[in-house]
């Protein structure tokens, strides 16, 4: 019994790292504007589409670099055409703007790159590895592609955590998110900060899109997968980079374990069908968190003097 459970746990954690990466894109923008960027999922899709189509006509590395450039250019366009005009507006206005960006980008991606299912070939090893064969009969199966993906994510996550967690950058981001006017009045260049976080979020979206795309194929469901980041964020706290990491791991492992451990219980004791737990588990967990600890595991305490 322990062997399969452990195998599930490892698989879940590896998937969880991918969730963390997607969630990180949301966290960056939330930190600097206090809004949930609805367009993040579509940015993942758009980046993956760019990479998949470009790599059809040029070497992969070149395509990757060009896609990164495209995401930075996109950040420029969004800052110049949208965000700059919305300084000092309510958070809900910014949120609605991200909704608009999401639908535009969704359609625009199809117009530019087409709407079929495309492949990203990362050239990852295909054959499963078995570890700890001496401890468990038959060993534990690990998908090497997932392992490589997890390592890429981990490096990315660590780099970003260092970049944003320390001193002045972090303080400037929080200042901008808290109050546009006040931030400007102490000389924080709002536009540069927004440009920076959107560009970095775009790059994060590219890496997430590359890995998810290689796994599932580049198609429109990719934008939906990214919304899995929502429960991750509720769990970890919207403003916390460590929160996004831990939240992703908990959700990834939790939903896989629930599928394996909870399903038999539902079938045997309650005579239910027992499937599909993976689809709702994360959201129920998030709901429980909202009731008990709305700021998440690592989020800032919500402070309001009434």
């Amino acid at each position: 019994m322990l062997g399969p459970v452990l195998e599930t746990l490892i698989g879940g954690l590896l998937t969880g790292v991918l969730y963390s990466l997607v969630a990180l894109g949301f966290v960056l923008i939330f930190k600097a504007s206090g809004v949930f960027n609805f367009a993040q999922g579509v940015m993942v899709l758009f980046a993956a589409l760019s990479l998949a189509r470009l790599s059809e006509v040029m070497p992969f590395v070149l395509a990757l670099a060009l896609s990164a450039l495209i995401m930075v250019a996109l950040a420029y366009a969004i800052e110049f055409l949208v965000l700059r005009r919305l300084v000092n507006q309510e958070g809900i206005i910014l949120f609605m703007a991200t909704l608009g960006i999401a639908y535009f980008l969704d359609g625009f991606g199809q117009s530019v790159w087409g709407s079929d299912i495309y492949k990203i070939r990362l050239g990852l090893p295909q054959n499963p590895i078995f570890i700890l064969e001496s401890v468990f009969p038959g060993g534990l199966l690990i998908d090497p592609a997932e392992l490589v993906a997890a390592v890429i994510c981990a490096v990315m996550v660590a780099a970003l955590a260092v970049f944003f967690q320390v001193t002045r950058v972090g303080r400037a981001l929080r200042a901008v998110a808290d109050d546009h006017q006040a931030a400007q009045s102490v000389g924080i260049p709002l536009n540069h900060i927004w440009l920076m976080v959107w560009a970095v979020s775009g790059i994060v979206a590219l890496v997430a899109g590359m890995i998810w795309g290689a796994k599932l194929g580049v198609q429109f469901s990719l934008a939906q997968v990214a919304l899995k980041a929502l429960p991750v964020l509720i769990l970890g706290g919207f403003t916390s980079i460590p929160g996004a990491i831990v939240g992703g791991l908990i959700i990834g492992a939790g939903e896989k374990l629930a599928e394996v451990l909870l399903a038999p219980v539902l079938v045997r004791w309650f005579d239910l069908a027992g499937g599909g737990i993976e689809n709702w588990f994360a959201y129920v967990l998030a709901l429980l968190f909202l009731l008990v600890r709305p700021q998440g595991l690592f989020g800032e305490r919500i402070i309001e003097r009434i």
């Binding site: 260092v162 970049f163 320390v166 001193t167 002045r168 950058v169 303080r171 400037a172 929080r174 200042a175 808290d178 109050d179 006017q181 006040a182 931030a183 400007q184 009045s185 102490v186 000389g187 924080i188 260049p189 709002l190 800032e300 305490r301 402070i303 309001e304 003097r305």
Partner: protein, 266 residues
């Protein structure tokens, strides 16, 4: 009356000049052809009934609003357009009518945010928290602690400002502006909603800032007693038009000012 900081700041050189500034929002004409100047080292009050355009005037000075007409000359440089962070870089700091603090951050972090422009080391040194950057952070922290002592708020430095009572929030906001070591400090109703004791404290801080650091101050305030005591010169606005400009004594006796405040029989 207190002794003025400089022998006669009203006669000093001009730090900021506003020339024929007009500002409209659609059909609402917030400012109409307003001109006045602020001398280096003085405390200049801007007063007027509600809706007179006082806050709009401050917003024009620090770049939040771009006037449709007119010019602003700051430190001898005339400009038509300026972004807020450029104003900050030029040495203009301000506080806000409704307290605009970073609510989730501690009092200390809020005031540290005021040092943003003073930090010279690049982001990357900051990230590494290494060598020169670390020394710089320590130096800034020391300056901030001085300001905290000056404002007598050491006991609240680690408290998130959202939890503080209003009077202390106003003080933290002043601290953040002081951390910028500004040449021109704009205060938008620094004593609104305060009790007598808090007003006296705040008045003392304003006088001290002006005296000890020589900071030029432009002040919007409704409490006439405070305005008359603190300021060297006063501009009076009404419905976006300047109706008087002079020393407290001049303005107090001005018939147009009395009419604006008390209303005129039609």
């Amino acid at each position: 009356m207190r002794a003025p900081a400089v022998p006669d700041p009203a006669a000093g050189d001009v730090l900021l000049a506003v020339d024929n500034v007009s500002l409209a929002f659609g059909g609402v004409r917030a400012l109409r052809d307003v001109s006045f100047d602020i001398h280096r080292g003085e405390i200049r009050a801007i007063i007027g009934p509600n809706g007179a355009g006082k806050t709009s005037m401050l917003n024009v000075v620090n770049g939040f609003y771009q006037p449709q007409q007119g010019r602003i000359t700051f430190k001898g440089v005339t400009r038509a357009k300026m972004r807020p962070y450029e104003a900050a870089r030029g040495g203009i700091a301000r506080t806000f009518q409704n307290v605009a603090l970073f609510k989730g951050m501690t009092a200390l972090d809020n005031i540290m945010a005021g040092r943003t422009l003073k930090m010279r080391r690049s982001f990357f040194w900051q990230l590494l928290r290494y060598g020169p950057a670390m020394a710089e952070e320590v130096e800034h922290r020391r300056r901030v602690e001085d300001i905290i002592d000056f404002l007598q708020i050491p006991h609240i430095r680690k408290i998130p400002v959202g939890k503080l009572p209003y009077g202390l929030q106003k003080r933290v906001e002043l601290g953040r502006a002081l951390a910028m070591e500004p040449e021109l400090l704009l205060l938008d109703e620094p004593m609104a909603g305060m009790n007598l004791e808090e007003k006296e404290d705040m008045s003392r801080f304003i006088i001290d800032v002006n005296n000890h650091f020589g900071t030029t101050i432009a002040l919007i305030e409704h409490d006439m007693g405070v305005v008359m005591d603190l300021s060297n010169r006063i501009v009076v606005l009404d419905h976006g038009v300047k109706i008087a400009d002079g020393t407290p004594l001049d303005v107090q006796g001005d018939q147009a000012v009395i009419d604006a405040y008390l209303g005129v029989a039609h």
